[in-house]
C-alpha cells in the first residue's frame, strides 16, 4: 500500500498576517490517481498548492515525496520540480514573447547552449502526441489562451514528473478543449502520474477524478472516494455551516418582482466586444445575466456601462433617451458598475480606502469641485461602518485589505453615488462565504429601497437566491429569459446547455 503513495503532506500550517490560511491540513496523493482538491474561494486550496510548490514557505507540518526517505523542504518552484512536482497555474505563467517550443524547454535544459532543431523537433512530437494545435516555432502570444494553457501542461508533462498540479486548468477552455485535456489527464494517470486537480466545476470533478479532498476555511474537512460522495453532500461540505444563513435569504427572494416601472432599457445595444442585444430592468428589480464563462454575460453589462466602445443601439433611462458611450455617461445617468476583475478594473491599490470610496462621487462632481478632506473622511467612516469594512484606518491603502473588504470598498464607492441602477459583475468572486451572504443580503435590501440591480455570478445558486429574472446567454447571444417558477437550478442549467427547457 505504502509504495502507492507519491506525496504526503501532514499538518501543514500557513499563517498570513491576521489570517490562518492553512491549519493542520493533511493531504495524500497516490500513484496514478486524479485527486480533486475542492473548496470555496478562500478555503486554502491555492495556499496549499503554493506551499507544495515552494512559493510560500510552510509554517508547520511536513511534506514527503516518493523516493526520498526524509521530510523535504521546498523553497522554490525549481526545487519542487527537482522532486518531480510540476505545476500548471491558472494564470498562465509562460513568456508570451518566446516561441511555443522555447516555452516548453526554457529553464530545464542542460548545458549552456540551445539546440533549436532538436528542441523544436521534440516539441513538435510532444505537441502532436498530445494533440495540441500549436506549432513549435509559433510565438506564444499568437496562440489562443486555451492553447497556451495546453502548452503549459505539455511542458509540465515533459519533465519527469510524479506529481502534476493543475490549478483551475479548465476555466479558460471550451468543452472540446476540456475533453481534450481530460483525455490527456487520463493518459497521464495511466502512466502513473499523480494529478492534483483544482477546480470549481463540480461536473468535471465527477467526470474525471478518483478521490476528493475538501478544504474549508483553511481546514481539512475530509478525503473521500468520488463514488461514495454524492454531489449535494460535497456542496454542503464546501459551504458548511453557512447553509442556514443562505436559506434566510431565499425567503426574501420575491423582493421587487412585482414592481414593473422600467428604469433602464436598451435596444440592439452593441459594443466592440458584444453582439447587439435587447435588455430592460424595472425599478427595484434584481435581475441577472447567466451563462458559462465567455458566453458574453460580462461583455453585455460592460456595454450597458459603456466600458467598451459602444458601436450601436438605443438606450432609454427612465423613459428618456440617453447617450451612453463611455463610463462617465453611464455614471451621469445614475448607473454604477462593479467590474468582474477587482484587481485589474476595480481597486486603485496604492490609494487609501478613503480615496477609493469617494472616487466615483468625486468624478461625478467634476474636476473643479473636490470633496473636502473632512467630508471625505465622513463619507468613508459612514460606509466603513455601514458595510462593516475591516480596515485599520481610512488612510490604509486598499491593496492591503483582504479580497472581501476590497470588494466592499468598491461597493461603497458606488453606493456613495446613490445610483438608480447598479451592475454587479461577480461581486462575490474570490471572497469568503460570510461576506458573500452579506453582499447578497445587501443587494436585496437595496432593491427593496427602489434600486435596480443587475447581478452576475458564476454560481447559479447565488443567482437563484437573489434574482427575480435571469437572462441566459450562450455563445454571445441571449438564448432565454427565465422568471418565476422557471427559476430552478435544472431549468437554468438546461437553458445554458441548450436544447432543454422552453427556450428555442
Amino acid at each position: 500500500m505504502k509504495e502507492d503513495i507519491v506525496l504526503t503532506m501532514r499538518g501543514i500550517c500557513k499563517v498570513f498576517p491576521g489570517v490562518m490560511a492553512l491549519n493542520g491540513v493533511d493531504f495524500t496523493l497516490r500513484k496514478g490517481e486524479i485527486h480533486a482538491l475542492m473548496g470555496e474561494n478562500g478555503a486554502g486550496k491555492s495556499t496549499l498548492i503554493k506551499v507544495l510548490t515552494g512559493v510560500y514557505p510552510k509554517d508547520a507540518g511536513e511534506i514527503r515525496v516518493d523516493g526520498v526517505d526524509e521530510a523535504i523542504t521546498i523553497r522554490s518552484p525549481q526545487e519542487a520540480q527537482s522532486y518531480g512536482i510540476s505545476t500548471v497555474y491558472q494564470e498562465i505563467s509562460l513568456c508570451p514573447n518566446l516561441t511555443v517550443a522555447e516555452n516548453m524547454f526554457i529553464g530545464r535544459t542542460r548545458g549552456g547552449t540551445v539546440n533549436w532543431k532538436a528542441m523544436e523537433k521534440r516539441a513538435g512530437e510532444l505537441l502532436d502526441s498530445l494533440g495540441i494545435p500549436a506549432r513549435p516555432r509559433q510565438q506564444l502570444s499568437n496562440c489562443s489562451l486555451a492553447v497556451q494553457q495546453m502548452v503549459a501542461i505539455a511542458r509540465a508533462v515533459d519533465t519527469e514528473c510524479k506529481v502534476l498540479i493543475l490549478d483551475e486548468p479548465t476555466s479558460s477552455l471550451d468543452d472540446k478543449e476540456v475533453e481534450m485535456l481530460f483525455r490527456l489527464m487520463r493518459d497521464l494517470k495511466a502512466r502513473g502520474v499523480g494529478i492534483i486537480f483544482v477546480t470549481h466545476f463540480l461536473e468535471q470533478v465527477y467526470e474525471v477524478s478518483d478521490r476528493i479532498t475538501v478544504l474549508r476555511n483553511g481546514e481539512l474537512v475530509g478525503e473521500y472516494e468520488v463514488e461514495k460522495l454524492p454531489q449535494v453532500q460535497l456542496v454542503a461540505m464546501m459551504i458548511g455551516r453557512e447553509l442556514e444563513n443562505l436559506s434566510v435569504i431565499r425567503k426574501e427572494n420575491p423582493a421587487g418582482a412585482a414592481k414593473k416601472e422600467v428604469r433602464y432599457e436598451a435596444r440592439q445595444l452593441s459594443s466592440t466586444e458584444s453582439r447587439p442585444f435587447d435588455f430592460y430592468i424595472g425599478k427595484g428589480e434584481v435581475n441577472g445575466f447567466t451563462g458559462l464563462l465567455g458566453s458574453g454575460r460580462s461583455e453585455s453589462v460592460r456595454a450597458i456601462f459603456g466600458a467598451d466602445p459602444v458601436t450601436g443601439g438605443e438606450v432609454k433611462m427612465e423613459g428618456k433617451k440617453a447617450r451612453i458611450t463611455k463610463p462617465l455617461d453611464a455614471m451621469k445617468n445614475g448607473i454604477g458598475y462593479l467590474p468582474e476583475d477587482r484587481k485589474r478594473d476595480g481597486i486603485i491599490a496604492d490609494l487609501s480606502v478613503r480615496d477609493n470610496i469617494i472616487l466615483a462621487l468625486q468624478v461625478l462632481r467634476g474636476m473643479g469641485h473636490p470633496i473636502s478632506r473632512a467630508k471625505a473622511e465622513a463619507f468613508a467612516d459612514e460606509y466603513i461602518k455601514a458595510l462593516g469594512i475591516k480596515t485599520a484606518s481610512t488612510d490604509t491603502p486598499i491593496g492591503s485589505l483582504s479580497g472581501g473588504n476590497q470588494q466592499k470598498v468598491i461597493l461603497a464607492r458606488w453606493l456613495l453615488t446613490h445610483p438608480k441602477y447598479l451592475i454587479l459583475d461577480e461581486p462575490t468572486r474570490g471572497i469568503d462565504v460570510g461576506t458573500k451572504t452579506e453582499i447578497q443580503k445587501l443587494v436585496l435590501k437595496l432593491a427593496e429601497e427602489g434600486m435596480s440591480v443587475t447581478f452576475i455570478s458564476s454560481e447559479i445558486e447565488e443567482m437563484l437566491r437573489t434574482c427575480s429574472r435571469l437572462i441566459v446567454m450562450r455563445d454571445r447571444n441571449i438564448v432565454g429569459e427565465l422568471t418565476g417558477d422557471e427559476l430552478t437550478q435544472s431549468h437554468v442549467m438546461h437553458t445554458i446547455a441548450g436544447g432543454g427547457g422552453d427556450s428555442e
Partner: protein, 361 residues
C-alpha cells in the same frame, strides 16, 4: 476627530520625504562643520546700486530654480504615465529660443508688453510640444522615455533653427529683472518665480482633483477609466503642464544670461530633474506622488553641487561625486535594503522581548 488614527497615518505618509530630508540635513551639518559661516547671508549692493542678498544659501535656492520648476512638472508626468520625459532640457531650449525671437521682433525696444507676449508665446509653443509628447504616450501607448527621445534628439536643433543659426543676445532692464533682481527687492527673482509656481501648483491641487486623478491613472489606468476618469486626457494634461514648466524654466535660463545658446541652455537638466523625482521618494514607475519630495530632492541636488563648488571641486568633476552620493541615497532607499533593515530591527526587538520575557519569568 480621531486624532491618534490621523497621526499614525500622517507620519507614515511623509516617510518618503525622509531620504531627501536626510540628504539635505547631512549636507547642512557637513557644511557647518567645514565652515560655520557657510550659510550666512549678507546684504550687498549690485552694479545697479540695489541692495541684494548674497551667500551660499541664496545661490543654492537661486541656482536650483529651473531644476525645481522642471521637477515639479516631471513629478506629474512620472506619476500619471509611469515614465519620464527626457526632452525637458531640449524643450526649455526651444521655449527660450521662441522667447528671444519674440523679444527680437520688437526691433530693439523691449516693452513689458512684448516680454509678456514672448512669455505667452513660448508657453504656447512648449505646450504644443508637450502635447506632442503626451499624445505619443497617451494615444499610442509608447513609453514616455522613448516618445520623448524624439524631441531629445532634435529639440536643440529646432531651437537653433528658430533663431536661424545664431545665438542672439537680448539686453533690457526687464530681462535683467526676470533673470536676477527686481530693483528694490533683494531676493533673486527666480526664487520668487519658484514660489509663484509652487503656489500655483498648491492652488491647483487644492481647488481641483488633478492630484487624485493623476494618481488614480498612474496606479490603475483601467480602473480609473471605469470610474469615469479620462485617462488619456490626464496623461496628455500632465505633459502639457510639464510643457509650461519647461517654458518658465527656459525663460529664466535665457533671462539669467541675456542670451540663448541652444547647446548649453539647461544642458543635462532632464537627468537632474528625474533624479530629483526619484530622490524625493516618488516611484519612477508611476502612481502615488509627493511634489514636495521632488522639490526637496531638487534642492538637495543643488546643495550638493554648491557644496562641492565651495570645496573647490572643478565644475566638470562635480558629476563624479554626485554619482557616489546618488548611489548611496538610492541604495538606502532600495526595497531590498529596507527589507533587510526591517528584518534586522525585528530580530533585535524579538530578542529584547524574549529577554524581558525571561526576566519576568
Amino acid at each position: 476627530m480621531n486624532n491618534r488614527k490621523r497621526k499614525a497615518g500622517g507620519l507614515s505618509k511623509y516617510s518618503q520625504l525622509l531620504v531627501p530630508l536626510i540628504a539635505i540635513l547631512v549636507l547642512v551639518i557637513f557644511n557647518l562643520i567645514r565652515d560655520p559661516g557657510f550659510f550666512s547671508v549678507g546684504l550687498t549692493t549690485n552694479n545697479n546700486g540695489d541692495p541684494v542678498l548674497q551667500g551660499n544659501l541664496i545661490s543654492i535656492l537661486n541656482g536650483a530654480s529651473e531644476l525645481v520648476i522642471l521637477s515639479m512638472g516631471m513629478t506629474l508626468v512620472t506619476a500619471a504615465c509611469g515614465g519620464q520625459d527626457i526632452s525637458v532640457g531640449a524643450l526649455a531650449a526651444i521655449a527660450g529660443s521662441v522667447f528671444v525671437k519674440v523679444l527680437k521682433s520688437g526691433g530693439g525696444s523691449i516693452s513689458p508688453l512684448l516680454v509678456l507676449g514672448g512669455f505667452l508665446m513660448c508657453c504656447a509653443v512648449a505646450m504644443v510640444f508637450g502635447a506632442f509628447n503626451g499624445s505619443l504616450v497617451a494615444f499610442f501607448n509608447i513609453q514616455p522615455m522613448i516618445a520623448t527621445l524624439i524631441l531629445f534628439t532634435c529639440g536643440r536643433s529646432i531651437a537653433y533653427w528658430i533663431n536661424g543659426g545664431a545665438t542672439p543676445t537680448v539686453s533690457s532692464p526687464i530681462i535683467n529683472a526676470v533673470g536676477s533682481f527686481i530693483p528694490g527687492i533683494p531676493i533673486p527673482t527666480p526664487i520668487l518665480i519658484v514660489l509663484l509656481m509652487g503656489g500655483l501648483f498648491a492652488l491647483l491641487f487644492r481647488f481641483t482633483t488633478l492630484g487624485l486623478y493623476i494618481q488614480a491613472v498612474g496606479i490603475n489606468q483601467s480602473a480609473a477609466r471605469l470610474n469615469g476618469i479620462n485617462a488619456v486626457g490626464i496623461k496628455l494634461l500632465s505633459f502639457v503642464i510639464l510643457g509650461v514648466c519647461c517654458a518658465v524654466a527656459g525663460m529664466i535660463g535665457v533671462s539669467r544670461l541675456g542670451l540663448i545658446n541652444h547647446e548649453t541652455l539647461l544642458i543635462n537638466i532632464e537627468m537632474d530633474a528625474i533624479l530629483a523625482v526619484a530622490i524625493g521618494g516618488n516611484n519612477l514607475g508611476g502612481g502615488k506622488f509627493k511634489m514636495i519630495g521632488s522639490v526637496l530632492g531638487a534642492y538637495a541636488i543643488q546643495a550638493l553641487t554648491i557644496t562641492l563648488y565651495a570645496m573647490k571641486v572643478p565644475s566638470t568633476d562635480v558629476k563624479a561625486y554626485k554619482a557616489v552620493v546618488i548611489v548611496l541615497l538610492v541604495v538606502m532607499g532600495s526595497p531590498v535594503v529596507k527589507e533587510a533593515a526591517d528584518r534586522f530591527t525585528k530580530r533585535i526587538r524579538a530578542a529584547r522581548r524574549s529577554d524581558t520575557g525571561k526576566e519576568a519569568a
